[in-house]
Point group: C2
Chain length 109, copies 2
Amino acid sequence: MKQYEHPPADAFDLTTILHALSDPYRLSIVQKLSVLQPQPCAPLQGDRPKSSVSHHFTVLRKAGLVRTVVVGVTHMNSLRDAELEARFPGLLTTILAAAAREAAQPAKS
Amino acid sequence: MKQYEHPPADAFDLTTILHALSDPYRLSIVQKLSVLQPQPCAPLQGDRPKSSVSHHFTVLRKAGLVRTVVVGVTHMNSLRDAELEARFPGLLTTILAAAAREAAQPAKS
DNA sequence: CTTATAGTTCGACTAATATCGAACTATTCA
DNA sequence: TGAATAGTTCGATATTAGTCGAACTATAAG
C-alpha cells in the first residue's frame, strides 16, 4: 500500500497553484471533486488516455490541490480544501465560484 | 495616438486569467498596480529587458487584467478591477490577498 | 529637423508543458 | 496462481511559453 508524497500546507506556492488551475482539464477535475469527494481517477478521466490523466493528477498533487490516498486498487482523490483555506483564505472557493459563473456565461468569442 | 485592443469583460476567460497570474513576474506587476494606479511600464520593469516586459504586458492585456492607455510617449497601465469584479466577483481581490499572504509567509523549501 | 524617450515587433533560441502509446506495478478476486 | 483492474512510469514527440538583442515606431522637446 504505497502512498504518495504531498507537500505540507506551508509549502503551498501561489503561482504553482494558479498554474495548476490554469489548465481547463485540471480545473474541471477540481470542480468535479468539489461536488463529490473523494473520488477515484477513472470517473474524472473524460476521453483522455490514462497516462495524460495521471500527469494532470501529478500536477494537482504537487501544487497541493489534491490529496490522493491509495486504498486497495483505486486511488481516492480529494481536495485539500481546509489546508488551502488556511494558507490562502477564500482562494479555492472564489476560483470555483468563478468557474461556475463561467459555466453559466461562457466567454464570448 | 494609436491605442490598444482590449477584450470586453464578457470575453474574459478564467483559465486565461489564471495562466496570466501564474507567472511570478506578471503577478508582481499586478500587485504593484493594485497599490499605485495607473503607472507606466518603466517603473515596473525590474531588471528585465524591454522586450520581455512588453511580452508580459501583452499577456496581461489579452487576459483582460490590465488596460493600457497611450498618453503621449508613455503607456499608462491600470488594472481592470471593476470589470474583473463584475465578471468574476472577488477573484482579483482574493488572489492579491493570497499574494500578500505569501509575501508575509513565503512557501517553505 | 534632430535627438531622446518609451515601448513594440521581429526572429531566433531555449525551456517548460502537454500528449499518448506501450510496458510496468500493485492489489483484488476467482 | 492467473486474470482483471486502476493507475504509474517511460520515452518520444509536439506545442506552448519565456528570454533577449536588434531594429523599428510614435511622440515630445530642443
